[in-house]
Structures are given as structure tokens and as C-alpha cells.
Amino acid sequence: MSSDTSPEAELSVGISVNGQERHDRVPAHWTLLRWLRERVWAYEVKDGCSEGTCGACTVLLDGRAATSCCVLIGRADGAEVTTARGLGEDGQLDELQEQFWSNDAAQCGFCTQGMLMAAQSVVASNNDVDRETIREALHGNLCRCTGYQAIVDAVEKTILSRRR
């Protein structure tokens, strides 16, 4: 047997959240999303569909976008997690967040942090990025308010301004 496997057992985990190392004992059936909200109080990470469809709970897991509702806490053990709160420094908005703000890319705000995190790979990419590529990068994230145009605008302007 490779470890304690009883259903009551709690796992000892060490996870870095936005640069801060946290150690905790967590029931094995918790998802990363549940731990972030209930223990870290990272309420910016939203609990939407629980099945990986809506994207509201998207975070970076070791630098890559992941749906935190579909990650067991044991899988996240040892990882670096970044949420929208970790994007800017010293309480300032980063450039993508600023563009969301100035382009009215957020209305109710429920999808916003997931959109910000899902856009990270396309914003960081050095390739030529057109609107279709941006839409492809964001197609796993649902927004029921904006109609998406403003969100794509915000991502596109961030990419263009970084290239200047």
C-alpha cells in the first residue's frame, strides 16, 4: 500500500497560492476549488458548473490554466497556484485587468477571473494573435452578460500594447 488510504484520512498538503506557501490538512475528496474558497478564502475563484464547462474556476496550476473544480486536492499538492489576485503587484491591476476595466469587459463579474486566467497563455504567446485565436483560447469560458466582444477587445489590446 503506497499511503494511508482510509476515507477518513486527511492529506497533508503544501501548496503555493499567489506566491504564499500554505500547509494544510485537507480531506482527500476536496477539490482544489473547494480548498481555495473554504480554507484560503480566495473568493475570486468562482464555483460555477462543477463539471469543467463554464471556466469560472480557472486558475493557473504550475503556470498552466486548469479548472480547479476538476482537480483533486491531492493532485494540487506541491503545485504553484495563481488566481486573479496574483496577477497584479502590490494591489495594483496588471495590464490585462486594466484593459478589462477600461473596455467594460466585466459586467456581473462572475466569469471575469476565469477569463483573466484562461487568457494568460494567449497573452504570453509570442505568435501573431488574431481575434479568432483569442476566441479559441477563451472558448471554454462562458459569459452570460457581455456578449464576449468586449472581453476579446481587452485581450487583443493587451497583446497589441505589449508588442509595441
Binding site: M1, S2, P7, E8, G52, A66, V71
Partner: protein
């Protein structure tokens, strides 16, 4: 989500030992992108999970003599980065899996073992005549042709004490043309119907075609009758061969999609795959 016993083995032997000890209540979990949603929704409630994410031997892609071995825990994103070197068909299929964040965690072995009848990766492997490497808790191992894995929806021929550890597939020869098309209701969804084709072209005619469908019955399907009708036909004969070859397939219906609509999608998507495959094969010859 209900509680479950949980272990994170660091080697394949440990994982097999845990699985053997757990009996029929134990399941392995790979990337979790299908199983965790089912558990979140209360549709699956395994009593014991053996998490393979720390088993390093199961990751990575190796090549030797035109044969590729894809470790079961290789993520879709990792495969997407390499697949175009050996199979345009597999690259195209993997690119259609979910969204980027699902591809970052979801694995090749998990996808084929989950045996979703609408899934793209099992379809690509079936049409590519892939072979699955399977290890069991009693120390044995076997090779399983892709066509013998899925028995039905989410059901496979894997025994309770077996783990699918790798996919073996031949690189496409330069002259082999491929096509992949699917129709899904929203970007990133499972396909309503997906089609895949691999062909050789000799004197302008199809030779040794391989054609498959996902989403039309309770498992991904090789369309052997289409292949028979197509062998030796030229591109003008595609419609006739496909119509004749699909006659004996019973297309399933569900709340969203009728049987007749699935049949129409299948015909159109296979035609597009074969046109693409023929063109790609001709381009490689010129």
C-alpha cells in the same frame, strides 16, 4: 463529492499493488477531467481512488523505428506539441478535445480508458490501428488492439486489476493522407458525430482506407463496410461508397439528435475527411 479512500503511488508497481488490494471498489484516476465532473455531479462515487499523477514512468512520448509509444499519463497538451511529427490525424483529433485547460490535465490513457463513445482521441487511435499496453496486478502484461478495448459506453475489456499504461501507434508514412472532421453543438463539447479517415492513394484511387466514427453508437466505431466499398474507388465514387457502407449501421438517437440527423452528419463528415485525405495524399506524391 462523497468521501473515498485515496492513494498516490509513485511507481507503476505500487499502483498495481494498490489496485489489486482494492478489488472491484478501486479505480485509478488519471487527469480526472471526465471522472471528477461525474463525481461532482453525484453520478460516480468510487470507494477508492488510486491517483496516477505521481507515476513518472507513465509520462512521455518515445519513438523508435517509426513506432511511437505514448505514456498513458501524457496530457493532451503534451501530445498536441508532438503529434504533428508523426500523425496529422492524431494532432487534429487532440486539438478538438475540450478546451486548453482540459487538455492541460486530461490524459491520453485516461481518455481511451474512459471509453466515451463520442470522444476524439479513442476514435483517432482506432482508425490509426493503435495498440494499448496493459499491465495487471499479478505481474502480467498484454497488448490490446484498439478495436478490442471499448465494449460499450464507458465499458472496457480491462480487468479490475489492470491499468492501461501506454498507447503504441505507427507514424504515418509520408504518402498516407488523413482527414478529421466533427460537428459539436458548442466549441469544446464532445462531438455529436466525429469522423476520421486515413488513406493511401494509388493511381488516383483510394487504397487501404481506414474510416471511423464517434458519437453514432455505444462505442467508437470502425466503418469496415465503408472501407470495403471505398477500396479501389476514385474521389468521384466517395458518395456512393459511403452511402453503401453506412447502410448497416444503426445510428443512435437521443434527446437532442435524431438517428436520421446523425446518419446525415456521418455521411457528410466522412465525405469531407476522405476529400481531405485524398488531397493530402496526392500533395505528398507530387
Amino acid at each position: 463529492m462523497q468521501r473515498f479512500a485515496y492513494s498516490r503511488p509513485e511507481s507503476l508497481d505500487e499502483a498495481l499493488a494498490d489496485l489489486d488490494a482494492g478489488g472491484e471498489d478501486a479505480r485509478v484516476i488519471a487527469g480526472g477531467q471526465s471522472l471528477i465532473p461525474l463525481m461532482n455531479l453525484g453520478l460516480a462515487y468510487p470507494e477508492q481512488l488510486i491517483d496516477l499523477s505521481r507515476v513518472r514512468d507513465l509520462r512521455g512520448i518515445d519513438a523508435a523505428d517509426g513506432q511511437w509509444r505514448i505514456g498513458a499519463m501524457t496530457t493532451h497538451s503534451e501530445l498536441l506539441g508532438t503529434a504533428s511529427e508523426f500523425s496529422g490525424l492524431i494532432a487534429a483529433a487532440v486539438a478538438q478535445v475540450g478546451s486548453e485547460r482540459i487538455r492541460n490535465l486530461g490524459t491520453v490513457g485516461g481518455s481511451v480508458s474512459h471509453a466515451d463513445p463520442s470522444a476524439e482521441v479513442p476514435l483517432a487511435m482506432l482508425v490509426s490501428d493503435a495498440t494499448y499496453e496493459v499491465h495487471s496486478g499479478d505481474g502480467g502484461s498484454r497488448k490490446l488492439p484498439a478495436a478490442e478495448l471499448a465494449l460499450g459506453q464507458y465499458m472496457t475489456s480491462l480487468e479490475d486489476n489492470e491499468i492501461l499504461t501506454a498507447v503504441h501507434v505507427s507514424g504515418l508514412g509520408r504518402q498516407r493522407g488523413w482527414g478529421f472532421h466533427e460537428y459539436a453543438r458548442r466549441a469544446g463539447d464532445f462531438a455529436v458525430v466525429a469522423a476520421a479517415a486515413l488513406v493511401d492513394v494509388v493511381d488516383g484511387r483510394f487504397s487501404s482506407p481506414a474510416v471511423g466514427l464517434a458519437g453514432v453508437s455505444d462505442a467508437v466505431l470502425r466503418c469496415e463496410a465503408v472501407e470495403r466499398h471505398l477500396d479501389g474507388a476514385d474521389p468521384d465514387g466517395i458518395d456512393e461508397a459511403v452511402a453503401a457502407g453506412l447502410e448497416e449501421i444503426e445510428f443512435k438517437a437521443d434527446a437532442y439528435t435524431s438517428s436520421a440527423y446523425r446518419a446525415t452528419l456521418a455521411r457528410v463528415l466522412i465525405r469531407r475527411c476522405l476529400q481531405d485525405a485524398h488531397r493530402r495524399a496526392m500533395e505528398s506524391l507530387s
